[in-house]
């Protein structure tokens, strides 16, 4: 079937009081459905999962870089209890600078800045559990 024939088939289908057409002939198969004025049979909620933040690929929120947790564990702002936090809001950090640690299985994992910038927000509380992909910092690139 060429496009011209297909066009004719569509004309035919549209002109008739038919809502669905399925045709199979000699290896050729076509299935057509007419638009229902009100929304069709079952439609999906919204694409799922895709909006999530993929760690390691900092996503932009407004014009900020978002640093997300690449691991599951406990978020600490300082290297040890009582010590100074690695960073505070409004600090300017360099690419590769340690921003926090996430403890997992007794190991302190240092999370570094992806780019130079100003710390706009520190999202989890100190010693709060964080999951994979959870946003930790917003950085305004400089």
């Amino acid at each position: 079937m060429n496009l011209q024939e297909l066009k004719e088939l569509l004309d035919l289908f549209e002109s008739r009081n038919i809502s669905e057409l399925e045709l199979e002939h000699d290896g050729f198969r076509i299935k057509l459905k007419k638009k229902v004025p009100e929304p069709g049979p079952i439609t999906s909620h919204e694409p799922s999962g895709e909006q999530n933040n993929i760690p390691g690929e900092p996503s932009k929120e407004n014009n900020f870089l978002q640093i997300t947790s690449p691991i599951v564990g406990t978020f600490y702002r300082a290297p040890s209890p009582g010590a100074e936090p690695f960073v505070e809001v409004d600090d300017v950090v360099e690419k590769g600078q340690v921003l926090c640690v996430v403890e997992a299985m007794k190991v302190m994992n240092e999370i570094e800045a992806d780019a130079r910038g100003r710390v706009v927000a520190i999202l989890p509380q100190n010693s709060q559990p964080v999951e994979y992909g959870e946003p930790l910092f917003l950085i305004e690139p400089m």
Binding site: P41, I42, N52, V72, T74, E131
Partner: protein, 463 residues
């Protein structure tokens, strides 16, 4: 372990099981574990990959922790994320389900080190059983029949030829360190042995860094029969009868039933005794499955022991009226077995069909969105599924859509019930294995109970 105070159940009795269990799995088995915990008044934590964030286990669990991206090596197989999720949520125990980390000895060891109860056997027992060759030697010592084989690891062809003559052809050449069919070769006659031996050795070296080989008698028309056992930490062991798992394609089961049409009361008692012996020989604790090969003459051979809950456990549940997941949890919490052997009765006949999103002719996975999903129901029909309308079957995971379990008074009724259930089952958006299942259920040999491991060959297009 804590005293559980659940708002309304506590009126009746006090539970001393776990307070919180982390479910280290996805899909329908994660849902079954969450359901069992809910009924026991235990809080649950679902762990999930990014692509599962809208899944039913995440929705129904009390807490949920994202542990990584869609690909399972970085999520459901990623040990540190899972252990860490247990630590940050205060889970006392982890149920591994089946697949993923369920038979990973290292995972069990880490759980033990971290003081998290692994719901399954101890690491030391699991280690013995996951090496399939070692397991056979242990079972042989315990008095279980194993397939004629050699007790030594072979490295030289002359040795292999000599032993092959003793065992007789056809035989299988297997890697000592093997698994998953790697390093496995069939030798029909002596002519083919040399080539197959060399190939198997090479594969074994490449896959397991260990070229050691052993030979095993090959049975052409056999049945796969497995026995469900349970053992508690107080030394009690019982079996819940057999499951007939002969119908497989590419080493994957697609239809199971219990009781097996090939096993009578006497053979069941004998094989059951052997299954219990196997569990005792390894100081087994929790749920386990002893796999046997049964030949046409009624001879059976120990093949391996699986140290987890099986996909097909529901057929045992419906005929014994037990909940195996709950039994696993109770045993892990230190309770004794809930029943004695003499209290176990198999009532009626049950069949399970594993409905996969796949092409029923080529078996190729058929990923996609379930645009329409209507599950069967009514008398004697159970459906275990985490699918829902708009559910996405992705190529990241096993394309299982649902397990349908039909329970009849006798085998003929169970078959008829499964047929009508599968005829009601409506799935649009992906191809499914339902047409294949219906072909099997209507096959004359199947209906008469006459089938062996080669049964599915007739439904597979020959290349």
């Amino acid at each position: 372990m804590f005293i559980r105070v659940y708002p309304w159940l506590y009126l009746l009795e006090e539970f001393t099981l776990f307070k919180k269990i982390l479910v280290a799995n996805r899909g329908e088995i994660a849902l079954q574990i969450i359901r069992a915990c809910k009924e026991l008044g235990i809080a649950t934590i679902a762990v999930y990959s990014l692509s599962d964030k809208d899944s039913l286990p995440v929705k129904y669990a009390d807490e949920a922790v994202c542990i990584g991206p869609a690909d399972s090596s970085n999520s459901y197989l990623h040990l540190p994320h899972i252990i860490s999720a247990a630590e940050i949520t205060g889970a006392e125990a982890i149920h591994p389900g089946y697949g993923f980390l369920a038979e990973n000895v290292h995972f069990v060891e880490v759980c033990e080190e971290c003081g998290i109860k692994f719901i399954g056997p101890p690491a030391v027992t699991m280690r013995q059983l996951t090496n399939k060759w070692e397991a056979k030697q242990v079972m042989k010592k315990a008095g279980l029949p194993i397939l004629p084989s050699n007790e030594h690891r072979i490295t030289k062809l002359e040795e292999a030829l000599k032993i092959a003559r003793e065992i007789g052809y056809p035989l299988l050449i297997k890697a000592v360190a093997g698994g998953g069919g790697k390093g496995m070769r069939l030798a029909a006659k002596e002519e083919g042995l040399e080539t197959s031996f060399i190939m198997a050795q090479r594969e074994a070296q490449a896959a397991f860094d260990n070229p050691e080989i052993y030979l095993e008698k090959y049975i052409e028309q056999a049945r796969h029969i497995e026995f469900q056992v349970f053992a508690d930490q107080w030394g009690n062991v019982l079996h819940l009868g057999e499951r007939e798992c002969t119908i497989q394609r590419r080493y994957q089961k697609i239809l199971e039933e219990t009781p097996s049409p090939a096993i009578d009361k006497e053979l069941r008692r004998e094989m059951g005794r052997m299954a219990i012996k196997a569990a005792k020989a390894t100081n087994y604790v929790n749920a386990g499955t002893i796999e046997f090969l049964l030949d046409k003459g009624g001879n059976y051979y120990f093949i391996e022991m699986n140290t987890r809950i099986q996909v097909e456990h529901p057929i045992t549940e419906v005929v014994t009226h037990m909940n195996l997941i709950k039994e696993q949890i109770r045993i892990a919490a230190g309770e004794p077995l809930s029943r004695q052997q003499k209290e176990i009765k198999q009532l009626g006949h049950a069949i399970e069909c594993r409905i996969y999103a796949e092409d029923p002719d080529t078996f190729a996975p058929s990923p996609g969105n379930l645009t329409v999903l209507h599950l069967p129901g009514g008398h004697g029909v159970r459906v275990d599924s985490a699918a829902h309308a708009d559910y996405a079957i992705t190529s990241y995971y096993d394309p299982l859509i649902a397990k349908v379990i039909a329970h009849g008074q006798e085998r003929a009724e169970a078959i008829a019930k499964m047929v009508r259930a599968l005829e009601e089952f409506t799935i649009e958006g992906v191809k499914t294995s339902i047409p294949l299942h219906l072909k099997i259920l209507r096959d004359k040999d199947f209906v008469q109970g006459q089938f062996y491991t080669d049964f599915l060959d007739r439904f597979i297009p020959q290349k």
